[in-house]
C-alpha cells in the first residue's frame, strides 16, 4: 500500500536518526515505485532525499569533521516541518522544506567533492535509470527525474536491464527485415 507523504517523512526521520542505511534504501524503493505509478513532485523529492541520505550515512568521510552530524540534525528538523506541512496538505511548504533538505545535502557534498558529478546529480541519474528499467520510456524517465538523456543512456548501457527483459523480435529477424529493405 502507498505511504502518505506525512508517513514517509516520519519513516525517513526514523531511519536517519538510527543511521539505518537499509531502511533508508527501502523507503527510497517505495518512493521510486510510487513515482513510476503516478508522478508527484513531493514523492519524487523524497526519492531523491532518501537516495542521497543513504549515500551520506554509508560514507564515514562525511562524519569525520562533524559536518555529517550537523546535517543529520538539520534534516531531521526539516523532516518534522515536512511532516506537519504534509498533514495539512500544504504542498508549497512541503516542497520548499524538501528543497532546503536537498540544498543542505548538496552543500555538504560540494565541500568535500570527489567526483565531477555531484551526489544530487548522481541520485537523479540513478532514479531515472530505475524508472527506465521499470518500463517508463527513456524520454519520460529523464524528464521526470531531471536527468540528462545522454547520461541516462550511458548509465543504462552499463546495467543488465536489457538482458533481464527479452524482446519478442530477435536481432536475426530485425536484420532480415533490414536486408529486405536495403536489398
Amino acid at each position: 500500500m502507498a505511504l502518505s507523504l506525512a508517513e514517509t517523512s516520519v519513516l525517513i526521520g526514523s531511519a536517519l536518526r538510527n543511521h539505518d542505511v537499509r531502511a533508508m534504501r527501502k523507503i527510497n524503493s517505495r518512493c521510486v515505485g510510487e513515482t513510476t505509478l503516478r508522478f508527484q513532485q513531493p514523492t519524487y523529492n523524497y526519492a531523491l532525499i532518501t537516495y542521497v541520505l543513504a549515500k551520506i550515512l554509508s560514507k564515514p568521510r562525511y562524519f569525520r569533521q562533524g559536518k555529517g552530524k550537523e546535517l543529520v540534525s538539520a534534516v531531521d528538523k526539516l523532516l518534522r516541518d515536512g511532516e506537519a506541512a504534509a498533514k495539512e496538505a500544504d504542498y508549497a511548504t512541503l516542497l520548499s522544506t524538501q528543497g532546503k533538505m536537498l540544498s543542505s545535502m548538496e552543500k555538504l557534498d560540494d565541500e568535500d567533492r570527489r567526483f565531477v558529478k555531484g551526489i544530487l546529480q548522481k541520485a537523479k541519474l540513478k532514479i531515472a535509470s530505475t524508472l527506465y528499467a521499470q518500463g517508463i520510456s527513456l524520454g519520460n524517465a529523464s524528464e521526470i527525474a531531471g536527468a540528462d538523456k545522454r547520461e541516462l543512456l550511458l548509465y543504462a548501457g552499463q546495467t543488465m536491464m536489457f538482458d533481464r527483459l527479452k524482446e519478442k523480435k530477435s536481432i536475426e529477424e530485425r536484420m532480415k527485415e533490414l536486408r529486405e529493405i536495403f536489398s
Binding site: 521499470q134 517508463i136 545522454r150 527479452k166 524482446e167 536481432i171 536495403f182
Partner: protein, 266 residues
Amino acid sequence: MAKLSGQSIVCDASSLISLTDSCFVHVIYFLKKKYSGRFIIPPSVERECVEQPMQIRNYALHAIRLKRAIAENMIDVVEANPARDLPAFSIERSSMSDAFCKSKMHMESADSNPKAKPGKAAEEIKFIANNIFHADGTPLRLLHAGEADVLSLALELGVDNILMDERTCRMLCEDPESLRQHLEHELGRQIGINDESLSAFSRATRKLRFFRSSELLLLAYEKGYFADYKELERDAVEASLYKLKHAGCAIGFGEIGGYARNHIRE
C-alpha cells in the same frame, strides 16, 4: 515533399546518441552513399541531440558531429505538419473515462518546454499511448513527447522504418503484452489494459518496423564498412556491438554473444 524512398528511416534521439557516443556517426554517411533512402529527424530530435548538448562541455563534440552530418545533408530535419490529425485514431478523447481525461491534464502540465511542444498528431499518439496501461485506476504515463514526435513524423511521411534504441516505445508498438507483464513484475501490482486505447495505438503503428543502431551497424558491416580492418574485421564488428551496447543501445549481452557466435564468427 517529394515521395520518399522505401529505404528512408526516421531516427530517434536514442539511436543518434548511441551512434555518436560510440564514434559511429560515419555509418550514416556510409549507408547514405550506398542507398537512396534518407535519414530523417524531427526538430525535437535535433534540439535534443545538437542544440542542448552543445551547451554541455562533455557532450559538445558529439553534438558537433551530428551538426556536421545535418549540414552535409546526411541527416534531414523535417518538421511535421502541426495541425495534422491521425486518421488511424478513430478513438475520441470524449469517449474516454473521466479518470483518463483528468490524467491528461496532469501529463500536459509536465511538458514544460514550450519549444518542445509537439504537433497535434504527436499529442494524439502520446495521449493514446499514455492511456493504454493502468494500475489501481491510474493510467501509466509511459511515452514522452519526443518519442511520440518520431512516431508521428514517420506516420505522416509514410516512412515505415524507424531507428530507435529506446526500449519502451519499441515494445509498446511491437509487443505490448510483454511490456505489460514486465510492468506488472517490476511494480508488483496488477496492470490493466484499456483495450480501446491499445487497439487504436496498434492500428496506427502496426506498419512500423523498428531497428536499433546495432542492426544499422551490422548492415554497414555486411556492406563492407569494416573491410579495412582485414583479418580483424570480425573482432572489430563484435567489439563495436558491445561499444554500442555500453553507449545505451537496448541490446543484451546474450543477444550480441549469440549473434556473434552464429553469424559473425561462424
